[in-house]
């Protein structure tokens, strides 16, 4: 079996030890680490994401697979050299919005985004609108992603968009929203650029927003 196939298999199995060993094998054999990431670990995580969407995997399995990939990435990343940037699909500042303490959905989206190759900075829950913006500025992020599970906290989503406008930063960041009470109509009304009904959709939305922000077609 080729090494990329073995990496896919180990990632899907959430076998951290094997993922790390294979990463070392990639380096030892002189295989391109970027290729190993793209055709091995990321491909494996895409399968994991599909399985999770179909509920063949549950969150504990998703986390185990993401951990396995992360451990392998830690081995490979220092050897990416000038390809470091190519391995990063974009950056997202994520959090559960002001007043909201429920973070399960946000944590799933975070894990899936990381697995898809995006750099994610997690601000946790009950994040002030201003804090999203400050962190996005500090990291020069592509996307701000806010979630809410309560109708009373969802009401802060338009504030996030409005404050970006008032700070003359609206064009600098894409905003995406999601969470139990959030609908596509509400996302539009709030002025967000994107919406994710579920984790899989959120990943697609984030990727599209990054591409759009960076001048891609989508």
């Amino acid at each position: 079996m080729k090494i990329f196939e073995q990496i896919v298999e180990a990632t899907v199995a959430g076998d951290q030890e094997r993922c790390v060993a294979l990463a070392q094998e990639v380096l030892d054999s002189g295989t391109d680490p970027l290729q190993a990431i793209e055709q091995g670990y990321t491909k494996g995580m895409a399968i994991v994401g599909d399985k999770f969407s179909r509920m063949e995997y549950y969150l504990p399995e998703l986390i185990a697979c993401a951990d396995a990939m992360k451990a392998a990435m830690d081995v490979l990343k220092p050897h990416l050299g000038k390809n470091q940037d190519s391995a990063v699909q974009g950056s997202v500042v994520i959090g559960t919005i002001q007043g909201d303490l429920h973070d399960l959905g946000k944590n799933i989206v975070k894990t899936m985004l990381q697995a898809a190759g995006l750099t994610v900075h997690d601000l946790g829950c009950d994040v002030q609108v201003r804090s999203f913006i400050d962190k996005a500025e500090e990291l020069d992020a592509d996307v701000i992603a806010a979630s809410a599970i309560l109708t009373t906290t969802m009401a802060y989503m338009p504030d996030l968009v409005n404050l970006l406008g008032d700070m003359n930063l609206r064009d600098r960041f894409k905003v995406m929203v999601g969470g139990a009470p959030v609908t596509p109509d509400y996302a539009k009304e709030a002025g967000a650029d994107g919406y994710g009904e579920n984790a899989a959709e959120a990943v697609e939305t984030a990727k599209n927003l990054v591409q759009s922000k960076r001048g891609g077609k989508k």
Partner: protein
């Protein structure tokens, strides 16, 4: 015995653990217990008749609770209990809870598995978002149902035309408005003394909640409040503040638990264990008099799926058989009001709950997500069906055959369930009566369900 201040003290002194690590521990420990006790979800046994299975789930939940305890988010510490403390709390848990006054006094009692005592029906739109001008009519449609033992609130999009935002002065104003309008709806329903089981559903912050629960705004002595755990197995000081207030004021309280199947715990078996463990959390940390669960499917946002019905049944049986706790469940449907599917989903969940020893918090429809999609008719469908099931003495074995027939009618449609009609399309807003169209939908559902084995009266 263990009191609230002992719990509080442990939140300051218990073992430190990072939240992410605790989340992982939930999955690890629950799944180890699934293996240890040999707990298996069987797609053909949606409502299992196996007492041993229910007892295994109960035992596993107890073991999980004793091992992990409760995570306090404010201090990142575990609040743990000894087996003796848990047993003491279970032994001394309330055996009844009284809601309402005068002619609308209702007493909730423990239900056994396959009990002929009908479920206590706490009817509510479960915080469904509604326009301010339709709020009273929507909640009135629940309060006026004859089988409503108590009722509770929708969520007004605005108060005084202003949106409600958590943690703002407007949240305090809105919470007070909520209590005033709920009592107004009770009067409009001709039941001024009916109990309101959850006075505040539109405030996340405790200051707003406490400001609003006052007699002068319409709160009555036998009304109550939910104290919700954070999924999974977590509490915080914001919630524990409510406990102190309730201890002093004497309003009823219930624990509210919404474990997510597919989330931190994992599959249906592990989530069942964690769901039962939440009842220990509510009893010991919140002093809950009764317990309401709304376990949900991670992807579908409802609990009318086959695996969630199994979870509802097995957890209800586990607690009904091993404790005298007062326990209930909130059915969450995928379909919205005035659809054939919503009648079937409600019937399936109510059937499962009724034979499994549970009370009912009726009903969250359209995944509790879409504005204006909720009406008293859904509560009527649930309550009438529950009464019939209890009166007819349907056993778990019979119920399992019926529920599988019902499931076959709708389960493949869950991902794309119809949104249904808005409240103002389901009810005549002047009379607050359901439309003939909705009554016809219900009648069609009754015909189908009668063929399956639930005998509706004419």
């Amino acid at each position: 015995m263990i009191g609230f201040w002992d719990v509080y003290k442990r939140s300051e002194t218990g073992p430190f653990i990072k939240e992410q690590e605790f989340d992982r521990q939930i999955g690890t420990v629950a799944n180890q217990l699934v293996q240890k006790h040999g707990i298996r979800f069987d797609r053909e046994q949606v409502i299992p008749s196996d007492d041993g299975l229910a007892d295994k789930v109960y035992q596993a939940a107890l073991e999980l609770f004793l091992e992990l305890g409760i995570y306090c988010r404010d201090t990142s510490r575990l609040i743990r209990f000894s087996p003796e403390e848990v047993q003491w709390a279970l032994k001394h848990a309330p055996t009844t809870v009284t809601y309402g006054q005068g002619p609308d006094t209702r007493i909730m009692r423990h239900r056994r598995v396959e009990d002929s005592l009908p479920p206590f029906c706490l009817n509510t739109p479960v915080g469904c978002t509604v326009a301010e001008e339709r709020f009273v009519a929507m909640v009135q449609s629940y309060a006026q149902e004859p089988l409503s033992d108590t009722f509770s609130s929708a969520f007004s999009q605005t108060v005084g035309g202003r949106p409600i935002k958590s943690g703002t002065p407007q949240e305090v104003e809105a919470a007070i408005w909520n209590v005033v309008k709920l009592r107004e709806a009770a009067r409009a329903a001709g039941r001024p003394l009916i109990g309101i089981h959850n006075l505040i559903t539109n405030a996340e912050k405790t200051d707003a909640t406490l400001a609003a629960i006052q007699e002068e705004f319409g709160a009555h002595p036998n009304d109550g409040l939910a104290v919700a755990a954070i999924a999974e197995m977590k509490a915080d000081y914001e919630r524990m503040k409510k406990v102190v207030f309730l201890d002093q004021k004497g309003y009823n309280r219930y624990g509210l638990y919404g474990p997510i199947m597919g989330g931190y715990a994992g599959g249906p078996e592990a989530t069942a264990i964690v769901h039962v463990a939440h009842h220990f959390l509510g009893l010991l940390a919140f002093g809950a008099q009764w317990h309401d669960g709304f376990p949900l499917h991670l992807m579908q946002g409802c609990n009318s799926t086959r695996d969630l019905l199994w979870l509802i049944s097995v957890t209800g049986q586990a607690l009904a058989r091993n404790t005298h706790l007062l326990i209930g469940v909130s059915p969450f449907t995928a379909a919205g009001p005035c659809t054939d599917m919503v009648v079937l989903e409600i019937a399936a969940t109510v059937l499962t709950a009724t034979v499994s020893g549970l009370h009912l918090n009726l009903v969250a429809v359209a995944r509790n997500k879409l504005p204006e999609r909720s009406s008293g008719m859904e509560a009527r469908i649930g309550a009438e069906t529950a009464y019939l099931i209890a009166e007819q003495g349907i056993t778990r074995k019979q119920a399992n055959e019926v529920v599988k027939k019902i499931l076959r009618c709708y389960e493949s449609n869950i991902p794309d369930a119809p949104q249904g009609k808005r409240f103002d399309e389901c009810y005549d807003l002047k009379t607050v009566r359901p439309t003939q169209e909705y009554l016809d939908v219900y009648d069609r559902g009754k015909e189908t369900l009668t063929k399956f084995g639930i005998e509706y009266r004419d």
